[in-house]
Subunit: 340 residues, 2 copies
DNA sequence: GACTGGCACTCGCTACAGTCGAGTGCCAGG
DNA sequence: CCTGGCACTCGACTGTAGCGAGTGCCAGTC
């Protein structure tokens, strides 16, 4: 039952070879390419045990072995050696991200960078509004009954929304409104604003109350409810690389899943303090992604986390490399945000 | 050389059948499914002529015929009968777009709607900044040396950008700056702003000149140069529908092309007054899309055009249906923008 | 002169048999 | 516990044969 060190080494070798060659790996090839110090026959015995335990399987009798999801899991948890990034990669990351001019640009560059380095599909969540604080609220008069509300978060993210007032409003009153809402809300974390917005109505001067009421509705929608989360995606073309061997023949389910923002958020958005997360094949909750693996992590300035990013690829992926890249990119982006 | 009416009818029948069945169509099947009033042998003679002229071809000897790009072109230009949208489709369009709350939402909904109705890849360009007018410019003080510049266009599009000032600035001066730039620029079409921005520097009061100089640089970047065009994409999963028969086996080149914003812009952005455009296979300038067709059109409130939208699919697509849908959606969106 | 029925021909597709070889499981011996 | 040897399995590949959809051509008919 217990797997001794050699069996684990065999499993590791199988995973590494299979990931590299994309073909079932046999006992003979294994001893040739790795220094296992035993004969093919011995390896075969080990393989039989590994198969019994569910870590590897045979596509057909008389074919080599292929890791199962469970095998990859064990590999990731206990067997993979950390693969440090090459200096060239580090430089690429720095250079690529250095030129960013604003938040949108940072996210765009990050997602392309990730896709390029890992050669897989990359997903980056914009800094979540819920996790940011209000830096400034602006009211821009468009006409006497229309205002443009602009919310600026401390992460640099900006949301805007048109407000249709119930009655015409004076310029001075707009200034008044702006002052009031800023006094009340600046510096507050967005997820904490609802009660304060509520209070705004009650505390406002009578003749502004109707305006404040509609305004606060829109505020609530903008701050909390409405497409609160945005997401950037890149590298879908990489899905078509593995010649349809990955993803059991059809990209369709995967592409479909990637079109749903909700799904993407689930993939990378559930950020716990646990920094980095790997979900392998069946471990994914989304049915369409049962043939895929996801490596995701949170990122943000310093220790706080403002969003998630990650990479999606075939279960047969280079886990050590991908993990190292995702971790490195997330750290760089975090530093970039901290400088701001 | 000249193709008489029956030969054209045969070509039309071939296109329609091939689009429907995805299989080469033979003379016998043709006379069975269409009322051509002649025998298979006659149809075969017509086919021979059509093939000689390059409108159809045989994948292999002893197979049915398949339209060539040139055949589709003729079909689109002269043979396709307009296919009016079903009331259900019209209602779907209206319902789907009615719920939009702001410009971003309109674009998002439009692109998903197009993808869903045509069952293909949809592309929608955000209203081009170059073609909009400045509605309002806002300067929000972040710190004494930092301003947030917000540009609001009359199409509802909003761009923002951080401005790093060379020296600290007083609150009153910010108000001054804001007033000046608004006086000068509001109502101007964005593509016309550069000379005016230049003039801003020269006309500003001496002690504000350094601030105005950096500000105008950023203004120029924001108004004209920087990722001036944004694009929304949906329906990529539809590419994987045709079971790899379309796109000659690999989705990769197509997916790659779709990742390049520049390419997408080329596809749908070159908007001439000519309302609707169909590019078939080889007619596409982008090599990766030689196996695809694109149906695109401009849209905007009333007669003005503020951006493009379109649909991409296999050359073997339902042209009449796609054309009708794209045209209808563009018109609805135009009306929606006009109401604003 | 245009259309049609008939006929020989082409050629991709499928099924089937046979061979090859990678890879396995098992066993006896060190 | 490991190893070398051996029989066995089964997928991949090859070659052959038959089938049938579809064609091109030609002689005959209206």
């Amino acid at each position: 039952m217990g797997l001794d060190d050699r069996k684990l080494a065999v499993l590791r070798a199988i995973v590494e070879d299979y990931v590299a060659t994309q073909e079932p790996v046999g006992s003979k090839a294994l001893v040739e390419r790795h220094q296992l110090g035993v004969s093919p026959a011995t390896v075969r015995n080990d393989m039989a045990v590994l198969e019994e335990e569910g870590y590897i399987r045979q596509p057909h009798t008389s074919a080599g072995r292929v890791p199962t999801d469970r095998g990859y899991r064990l590999f990731v948890d206990r067997l993979s050696r950390v693969k440090p990034l090459s200096p060239a990669e580090r430089r690429a990351i720095e250079r690529f991200l250095a030129g960013a001019v604003d938040l949108d640009d940072v996210v765009h560059r990050t997602v392309r960078l990730l896709a390029q380095l890992t050669r897989q599909v990359a997903v980056v969540q914009y800094p979540s509004l819920a996790r940011s604080r209000v830096r400034h609220l602006e009211l821009v008069p468009i006409s006497t009954t229309r205002l443009m509300l602009v919310v600026i978060a401390d992460t640099g993210r900006v949301e805007q929304r048109l407000v249709e007032l119930p009655a015409p409003i004076l310029a001075d009153d707009v200034i008044d409104l702006r002052r009031t809402i800023n006094e009340k809300l600046v510096g507050i974390q967005l997820s904490e604003t609802p009660p304060l917005v509520q209070a705004l109505i009650e505390e406002s001067v009578p003749h502004l109350r109707p305006a404040m009421t509609t305004l606060s509705t829109v505020l609530l929608e903008t701050l909390v409810e409405r497409h609160e989360e945005r997401i950037a995606l890149a590298g879908t073309a990489n899905l078509a690389r593995g010649g349809l061997l990955d993803f059991q023949g059809s990209l369709r389910p995967v592409l479909e899943a990637l079109e749903e923002e909700v799904v993407l958020l689930k993939l990378i958005g559930e950020v716990e303090p646990s920094t980095l997360r790997v979900r392998i094949g069946d471990e994914n909750e989304i049915d369409n992604l049962r043939a895929a693996s996801v490596v995701s992590t949170g990122y943000g300035p310093g220790a706080t986390i403002v969003g998630g990013m990650g990479v999606l690829g075939p279960t047969r992926m280079d886990y050590p490399g991908t993990i190292a890249t995702v971790r490195a990119v997330a750290r760089y982006v975090g530093e970039l945000l901290a400088q701001n």
